[in-house]
């Protein structure tokens, strides 16, 4: 078994409590995908100012800076928090997790493609496992469960295709 990780039920209790603190202070749950959407919008806007009129991302740029938003600050905090935790547990290490004997380049190809698909999906589903599934279900949203169960079902259905990538893990 992995050492140095918290018991999952304890982790969940603390995570749910932090989620509630986010509700109680900011009036919204924790999220992640929105920050990446905003970073993309800001980068595109810097290259092409005409992007401010984009049908979807225009709403991010109304204040002139897509990054001046709670979700972006929260994700910067998460990056620091993740680093501090990993450093305390001695888990900072450059590596690529993959199945036994699986080529790194193939692993990185799937990581990239998965990133593309997931980003696209989060715009349809208004959030990811954090902002939609966790924060939505914590607020009794039906949509959160629709998203969670359909994501879980699709992942299970496709397991045979990626068995080698995760072999032995």
């Amino acid at each position: 078994m992995e050492k140095g990780y918290w018991n999952p039920i304890f982790s969940g209790f603390i995570l749910g409590t932090v989620l509630f603190i986010a509700y109680a202070i900011a009036g919204q749950g924790v999220g992640a995908s929105g920050a990446f959407a905003r970073v993309t919008a800001q980068l595109t806007y810097l290259v092409d100012p005409g992007f401010a009129s984009n049908a979807y991302a225009g709403k991010y740029l109304r204040s002139g800076n897509a990054l001046s938003n709670w979700i972006v600050v929260e994700i910067v905090g998460a990056l620091i928090g993740g680093y501090v935790s990993a450093a305390m547990s001695g888990r900072i290490k450059q590596s690529t997790d993959r199945g036994v004997g699986y080529p790194v380049y193939k692993r990185l190809f799937w990581a990239f493609l998965g990133g593309v698909l997931i980003a696209f999906a989060t715009r349809l589903s208004r959030g990811c496992t954090s902002g939609q599934a966790l924060s939505g279900a914590g607020g009794f949203s039906v949509g959160a469960w629709i998203f969670m169960l359909s994501a879980f079902g699709a992942g299970m259905f496709l397991t045979p295709l990626f068995r080698k990538q995760w072999k032995g893990l």
């Binding site: 969940g12 980068l43 600050v73 998460a78 990056l79 935790s85 990993a86 589903s125």
Partner: protein, 203 residues
């Protein structure tokens, strides 16, 4: 009590203080995800193979905990939950978005939140995943006009479990959340024990 949660959306703290506190909430979020074992793609991907209950157990416990706090604070009138933003339910986009998302998860071993922690701990696959996400976002922005109608279909507004089946937050919504959580937990445990018996843990 003079004040009432949520502090920001009821105007009791300003934007700058809210952002400042958001940094600490994010810190806690990232710290916990790492400590819970979400900082490696193997813990995420193996969920779909029922080899690992860590991530689902954490999610289930988090949802039950958060809803319990919501119910307690609402009962005593300490929080006005109507001021807490909950994503609007769009049935069809959530169903399709969920399917694409699940496919992306089993192929990449990441989701947006966990990839942040993966990047923080030095996972190359997380960095590549994040680059993929930026590309995916760009593609969506540029092609949105083709999806716009579908993306906004099945809009049910702020649609809670109680609205679906009747009752209120304290009885129906909370009870059904607990039932769903236990159901998911039992399902995972049963599937894992079947997989374990078949001895396919390392294949």
């Amino acid at each position: 009590m003079d004040w009432l949660f949520p502090l920001f959306t009821t105007g009791q703290i300003g934007n700058n203080i809210n952002l400042f506190l958001g940094l600490f909430i994010g810190f806690g979020f990232g710290f916990i995800l790492e400590k819970a074992g979400f900082g490696t793609s193997k813990h995420i991907a193996t969920v779909f193979y029922f080899r690992n209950l860590r991530v689902t157990q954490t999610m289930i416990a988090a949802i039950v905990t958060a809803t319990t706090w919501v119910v307690i604070f609402s009962y005593f009138g300490w929080i006005d939950f109507s001021h807490v933003f909950i994503p609007i339910t769009y049935v069809w986009p959530y169903l399709v978005g969920g399917i694409i998302f699940g496919a992306g998860m089993v192929m990449s071993g990441w989701c947006p939140g966990t990839s942040v922690v993966g990047v923080a701990t030095g996972k190359i696959d997380a960095v590549v995943f994040v680059v993929g996400m930026l590309v995916g976002m760009f593609v969506y922005f540029q092609t949105y006009s083709y999806f716009q109608v579908f993306a906004n279909s099945g809009n049910l507004g702020r649609f809670t479990i109680a609205k679906l089946v009747g009752g209120d937050m304290f009885t129906t919504s909370y009870l059904i959340t607990i039932i769903l959580a236990i159901g998911l937990g039992v399902f995972m445990n049963v599937m894992k024990s079947i997989i374990d018996k078949k001895g396919e843990v390392n294949e």
